[in-house]
């Protein structure tokens, strides 16, 4: 009877109930949409950044993070790589050799980051190969070839086919100089990458830095599903549990990107929460109005022998109904909007013709939302919980009802 009474009571003022449900639904839909949008952007940032680097997971010398140097390499990477490739969540693995050096041309010398890559693997996992403006990306079998950023090329007045001398220290600390030829020039849109990065084939890098074919500074792991990061790290650690190598998530390798995302994620949730709280206040107002209007009726029910707790149950059930209807509508609305943006994307290049970079990594100006079940469930759950907490206010008010005054 309480459930029936509650259900019919919420529909006695149909317009008000619909407005309340619509407010809740709209607030929730906006929250879902913007959180999914924010997650989508974060996902793009992470995807671009980690793929430019070693991947979602980096296996490297335990001391490399503290003092990156080419002498902190790991050996026996082929055997380890084969075992990691067997993990289901792994999309690809790649070997990298990263070092510092100086790029010299007839126009001058510039300090650069030298990255030795496996061309075919890198072309499939890194966005760099899609950003060539001159020439082409490296290919397997290329020797003494390099690609470099447009900004760096401008500084050194290099074009496709130009000669470049790389000067660096190898793993034994010896000074080495190697001549190579520019195969292509890329433009990512990030000053740091376009003006600083030089990629060379892995075998050439092993030669330059004095490493053996089975040695690299990083073994990178790209995942099919980033959500499986922790589980995959666990699986890799199970394969290689010793002190031989550190297994690091991308957050440890790219702390500035991780911090940026944490900050953005927090600010998105705070902003959406504030917006939702404002909406909740309007809902609270309508809930209170519906109680004030029915004080006489509640007094009658009390006179008939209804206990306060039963009236509170009725009000609670009313809030549950409104909450369920509002949350389901909000989840459907927000979910549909976010899903649409996830599928079709939104091209913002008209607003940002110069492109967007985050922590030195270029991000596409076509943004896609990323709607995940946790976003739907968390936002829906929080909205429902907020609605139920809100119901405590009218429930408390009913406890202060003065029967004789209300019956007058």
């Amino acid at each position: 009877m309480i459930v029936r009474l509650a259900w019919r009571s919420i529909w006695r003022n149909r317009r008000r109930t619909l407005i309340t449900i619509a407010s809740l639904a709209l607030g929730l839909a906006i929250a879902i949409f913007f959180i999914a949008l924010s997650e989508g952007v974060h996902n793009q940032v992470v995807n671009e950044a980690v793929r430019m680097q070693a991947g979602h997971i980096t296996v490297e010398h335990p001391a490399y993070q503290a003092a990156p140097a080419v002498d902190l390499f790991i050996g026996g990477v082929d055997r380890l790589r084969r075992r990691i490739d067997g993990i289901e969540a792994v999309e690809a693995t790649k070997l990298l050799i990263r070092g510092q050096g100086v790029a010299n041309s007839s126009a001058g010398a510039v300090g650069v980051a030298v990255m030795g890559v496996e061309p075919s693997v890198e072309a499939g996992t890194s966005p760099l190969a899609r950003h060539m403006v001159t020439g082409s990306y490296l290919e397997d079998g290329d020797d003494r070839k390099t690609i470099l950023g447009e900004h760096l090329a401008d500084q050194l007045k290099l074009t496709q086919g130009s000669k470049l001398v790389l000067t660096t220290n190898n793993a034994r600390g010896e000074l080495v100089e190697e001549l190579c030829r520019v195969k292509g020039i890329f433009r990512i849109g990030s000053d740091e990458i376009d003006g600083y990065l030089v990629q060379i084939p892995l075998e050439f890098a092993q030669r330059v830095f004095g490493l053996q074919p089975d040695e690299a500074t990083q073994l990178g792991v790209v995942l099919k599903r980033p959500a499986e990061l922790e589980a995959t790290i666990g699986a890799i650690k199970a394969i290689e549990p010793g002190d031989y190598a550190a297994v690091l998530p991308w957050q440890a390798v790219l702390p500035e990107v991780a911090s940026y995302i944490r900050l953005r994620r927090t600010s998105t949730w705070v902003f959406q929460s504030l917006l939702f709280i404002i909406i909740l206040f309007t809902i609270l107002n309508t809930l209170l109005m519906s109680v004030v209007e029915r004080e006489r009726e509640f007094a009658v029910l009390l006179a008939l022998g209804t206990r306060i707790v039963q009236l509170r149950q009725q009000l609670f059930v009313e809030s549950v109904f409104i909450g369920i209807l509002g949350c389901v509508a909000g989840m459907l609305l927000g979910g549909a909007a976010a899903l649409s943006l996830q599928v079709h994307g939104l091209d913002l290049s008209g607003f940002m013709p110069e492109g967007v970079t985050v922590s030195g990594f270029s991000v596409s100006t076509t943004i896609h939302a990323l709607l995940t079940p946790p976003i739907l469930l968390w936002t829906g759950g929080i909205a429902m919980a907020a609605m139920l907490v809100l119901s405590l206010v009218p429930m408390r008010r009913i406890g202060r009802l003065r029967m004789t005054e209300s019956l007058r």
Partner: protein, 231 residues
């Protein structure tokens, strides 16, 4: 006959701070089982206040109220709720039916509070609705019923828990005299057939005459208590 109601030295003050209104000034009253009593008096004489206090809707400032020998002024809210649910029925001037419940559901509500199973509830409600002349109207909402019919639903709701006492605050005030007469006939019949004690307040001379006992209040005191002049 047993005492159903015993009111002793009841006062009731309203107001806060320095402005106090004394609604009842030392009321003593005893109602025996099966009585059919009416309370009359001008507005502000304390009729409704006394009904509220006897019904446990309000507490006296001083004095005691016993229902079936039990001092209700000392009962907790929960026990008082159960007492109202099981032993006291209320009929209000403006019916006070729950608008979103049908006649049947309004009447059934109190039985639901008593945790009576659905089958028995329905059987009892249908029987009582027949008794009060609402056969065939059980699925109508209050807005679909006339004032007299709504008051019959309210009476059905009051008698369904088989209370010892029914308190009615001006039960015929919102209906025409013919309907009022019919309602009084119904209350009297229920009094005779079920032995329920009735105490109702009224301004209506015709209603007063139908009572077997007339209690007159003025300025918070009982000034007359006896049989109606032509009763």
């Amino acid at each position: 006959m047993a005492e159903i109601v015993e009111v002793s030295g009841v006062t009731r003050d309203y107001g806060e701070g320095g402005i106090m209104t004394r609604a009842l000034r030392g009321v003593d009253l005893v109602l025996m089982a099966g009585e059919f009593a009416s309370m009359a008096g001008p507005s502000g004489s304390g009729k409704t206040t006394l009904l509220n206090i006897i019904g446990g809707l309000d507490r006296p400032t001083s004095g005691t109220v016993k229902i079936e020998g039990r001092d209700i002024t000392r009962l907790s809210g929960g026990v008082l709720s159960r007492l109202r649910r099981d032993r006291i029925g209320f009929v209000f001037q403006s019916y006070n039916l729950i608008p979103v419940l049908t006649a049947l559901e309004n009447a059934e509500y109190v039985l639901m509070l008593q945790n009576i199973d659905k089958e028995e509830r329905r059987e009892r409600v249908m029987r009582v609705l027949r008794e009060v002349g609402l056969d065939g109207m059980e699925h109508r909402f209050p807005r679909e019923l006339s004032g007299g019919q709504q008051q019959r639903v309210a009476i059905a709701r009051a008698i369904l828990p088989e209370p010892a006492l029914i308190l009615a605050d001006e039960p015929t005030a919102n209906v025409d005299s013919e309907t009022g007469g019919a309602l009084m006939n119904l209350l009297r019949r229920l009094n005779e057939e079920k032995g329920i004690t009735f105490l109702f307040s009224t301004h209506d001379q015709a209603v007063m005459k139908r009572a077997l006992r007339l209690i007159r209040l003025r300025d918070g005191r009982i000034v007359e208590d006896g049989k109606p002049s032509n009763g």
